[in-house]
Amino acid sequence: MNLEVKLPGLTLKNPIMPASGCFGFGKEYSEFYDLSRLGAIIMKAATQFERFGNPTPRVAETSSGMLNAIGLQNPGVERIIANEVPRLAEYDTSIIANVAGSSLEEYIFVARAFNETNDVNALELNISCPNVKEGGIQFGTDPDMAKKVTAAVKEASNLPVYVKLSPNVTNIAEMAKAVEEAGADGLSMINTLTGMKLHLPTGKPLIANQTGGLSGPAIKPIAIRMIYEVRQQVSIPIIGMGGISTAEDVLEFLQAGADAVAVGTANFQNPFACVDIIDALPETLIKYQYTSVQDVIERRGAVV
């Protein structure tokens, strides 16, 4: 079955890619399977300089989900380009770089740096990381700020830009329309919802950063609703994510309005999550009477 999808700057052999931050730079999971099987790989967030991230504990389990506050730990964009991108480029798959920052200048710096490489196919502009205190989050909750950073990054880079939206907003469609207007080539949604868990013996937050981002199957209904809502109001493609762990979940995201999907938390439960989903996708599409991934995308128009 034809699982191919074409997105701005990307021709994916299948619509499945690991979500940013849940797959490092691919090295660890390459010990489980051949990364060439993936539609694309979204790398862990890159910032201008090396970041050590937040103190530990950085994760906590919740019902059908987890909280994380890694704090964008990464070796900095230069070392990512030097050490990680070349290794990933050996696989027959597309590379998407997740661009993070705490100032407009930092976003521009990182986007420019990736623009210099030949092996990165697209940027995912992370304006929605809830675990960085210096203001990263504001870009993701204020439409004007989101517009500004999107326009700046578009100018700084020739690569297609997928803006990653935060679900921690009153009006997600407004955010989506703002970044579409600013020139975004696509959207990526959703990032995590801000949550907290307490440690009962102390009554204090379990995660050192106090709050963390909620991911996993628990948030899937929110992701589906937001994608469905945004799909009615914007026309750029959407990379959907939030709680995907089966091929049926992928179908639901495609039906809701996504054009490709990313798998995050599920990798931790099952290191083969992405390839298991890719393997199951054809029979799932057949079961629900679709002939290809493109068929799902085309036929939802009639449905909505």
């Binding site: 999971y29 050590f52 990798n267 290191p271 083969f272």
Partner: protein, 251 residues
Amino acid sequence: MKKRHEMKVLSVETIAKETVEMKLYQPEVSQQTVPGQFLHLLVPGFTLRRPISIAKVDRQEGTVTILFKIVGGGTKALAAYQPGMTVDALGPNGNGFSIDDVSEGGRVLLIGGGIGIPPIYHLAKRLSEKNVELVAVLGFQSKDYVFYEEAFKKIAETYVVTNDGSYGHQGFVTHVFPEVGAFDQYFSCGPLPMLRAVTTELQDSKGKVSLEERMGCGVGACMACVLPTVDNSYKKICSDGPVFSAQEVIL
């Protein structure tokens, strides 16, 4: 390529208060494991896998034994497993205790606290195959929690310590250090406060410690389990560790 293993449960036994020993059949894992490595276990109904150290292996039988304390929902569910069922596991994960630098005829101090004792036992077994003298200091909360004393006694000069003095010496593991005599190197695993006390007390000795942290992936990809190092960098407990040189990390 790494695999996801279905490990068959052979037996499940409560060997001390809240402490369960589970024997699993999986020849491949049994062959590959070195002391200090852990399994990353999937418990149905829980999002994250549970890291549990390997307490011993029997390569002939193809078995792997783990020991765990019932602390929350995941370990409670694991304790309810019946022989014949299978557990989904990743592993052996991480880097265990390297014993290449333990010289024949030497003397080694082993310090285990509570549920940190199983990997220390695995190490003791492996060291006992070398010509090395072993001294073990085992700390428990109280008498009801004591396990593996006899097993240790067979291969090591063994001191048992309980916090409340209900069995063996009273106090912390560090309290019996004056009695243990000289040693070339120490190995330790246990709760963080214990490891802090041990590494401080023994700061002039060469030693290795096994550490714990809450994990996401358990394979080195998510950065949940990092630990600062003395050279102003960091290590991942799940993949660089869980065993580190006591001199290398900041507890």
